[in-house]
């Protein structure tokens, strides 16, 4: 078990899964000869050849549309969308076909497509390189969505998504692609979709997060004079409802953190779950610390948009009284 950066763990997962299953192919813009703009697919073309690591035209709807056909022919495509906001042209394929084919064919046809993409802000990038589009994907029936926050989970969740019989979207927090470096199991490594990770145990307040907001919550917890529990959801669909409800039962105070805009963001779903199933466990309102309901701002001002440890800690203090 060696230490790897998060993006290196993604690369490792792709190597291992392509080695294991000859039906797995990787396709996307610049994934082959260039090895991906973040180097996530480096080495795959040399190892597996240009027929299994395919440089596509700059056309996201075409990438996913081709993957639909490849699935019908028995392949297991892993599509890279080069950036979060570049994925929007593929939403038509995703919503009208990918999420529906199993249902449309009465369960006769499987669509084991994986779509992976770097997502989120905080890297001083230009417009349309910073979005957190998880709600569009989670809101689409038939689609599973996973978001790692550690190198080991980046490998395990991607591998689980590739092997899953349902179409999966894996959103990789680009802000922490090359910040934290930690141990990643060698060889085959799976993290079951739908199992949250208890980052830190605590008794007074629960911070619920995923992706690059997990380290923000850890910084907030360090700044608080309280016993703070941090739950990393890891997978938004399926959602580990039991883990959320167990933590609420313990602390009775919840702050949900995501960098996507607030309205109909995933925090609303978690808050609704808690309201429906755990409202009598609560000692106060469920609070959200999120991005604002505006387009992701230009980088000179992005720090004001992005949930900060200060904002998370302020929300927690409001609950702790």
């Amino acid at each position: 078990m060696g230490d790897r950066f998060l993006v290196e763990a993604v690369n490792d997962a792709l190597h291992v899964e392509m080695e294991r299953d000859a039906d797995v192919i990787v396709m996307g813009e610049d994934v082959g000869r260039a090895g991906g703009v973040f180097r996530a697919t480096a080495g795959l073309r040399d190892r597996f050849g240009p027929d299994r690591c395919v440089d596509t035209p700059l056309a996201e709807a075409g990438i996913l549309g081709a993957a639909v056909g490849l699935c019908m022919a028995g392949w297991r495509p892993v599509c890279e969308m080069q950036y979060d906001a570049f994925s929007y042209p593929c939403l038509d394929q995703l919503i009208t076909h990918v999420g529906r084919y199993r249902w449309r064919t009465g369960g006769k046809m499987a669509f084991p497509i994986t779509i992976r993409m770097p997502y989120g802000g905080g890297v001083r990038a230009p417009e349309l390189h910073d979005d957190s589009p998880e709600t569009y994907y989670v809101h689409t029936p038939g689609i599973k969505v996973a978001i790692p926050s550690t190198p080991a989970d980046a490998k395990g969740l991607l591998a689980a998504a590739i092997r899953d019989e349902d179409p999966c979207v894996v959103l990789e927090p680009k802000r922490i692609y090359r910040t934290a470096r930690s141990a990643v199991p060698d060889g085959e490594h799976l993290v079951e979709l739908g199992k949250a990770r208890l980052v830190r145990e605590g008794a007074d307040v629960t911070l619920v997060a995923y992706g690059a907001m997990v380290p923000v919550c850890e910084a907030a917890a360090d700044a608080l004079d309280a016993s703070v529990e941090i739950l990393d959801l890891r997978s938004l669909r399926p959602l580990d409802e039991d883990a959320v409800l167990a933590s609420v039962a313990k602390t009775g105070r919840v702050v949900i953190v995501h960098e996507a805009p607030r309205t109909v963001g995933f925090g609303a779903e978690v808050a609704a779950l808690i309201a429906e199933r755990a409202i009598y466990d609560l000692h106060g309102p469920v609070l959200r610390v999120t991005g604002y309901d505006v387009p992701y701002p230009y980088w000179a001002i992005e720090d004001a948009y992005m949930p900060s440890a200060e904002r998370v800690a302020a929300a927690a203090r409001q609950l702790l009284g």
Binding site: R33, Y292, V294, I301, A304, R311
Partner: protein, 104 residues
Amino acid sequence: MHYRVAPHATADDPRAYIDLERVEEEKRRECLGRYEGFLKRAGVLTDEQAEEMKAGAAEVMRAGIAAAEAEPPPDPAVVFEHAYASPPGALARDLAELRRILGG
């Protein structure tokens, strides 16, 4: 087909995916340069005029960059501006809360 005259970004190494000899070939066929040559051959443009225009354009860019870099750090309110003609009330509450936290 078009070719970039420089890497896409500082982290980009185009040698991984492009034939550099082909890029040099395309630089010789690049349309602005060809048009400059055409105008000079037609006697419409002199070398001095061309240099003057290029120097003038570079100066406009230099001045623009200097002016942009001299701007003070933007106010957090900029985050909330121009998303709507008539902003939902939540945006004003968000800005007030953000100011409170940044101020404290």
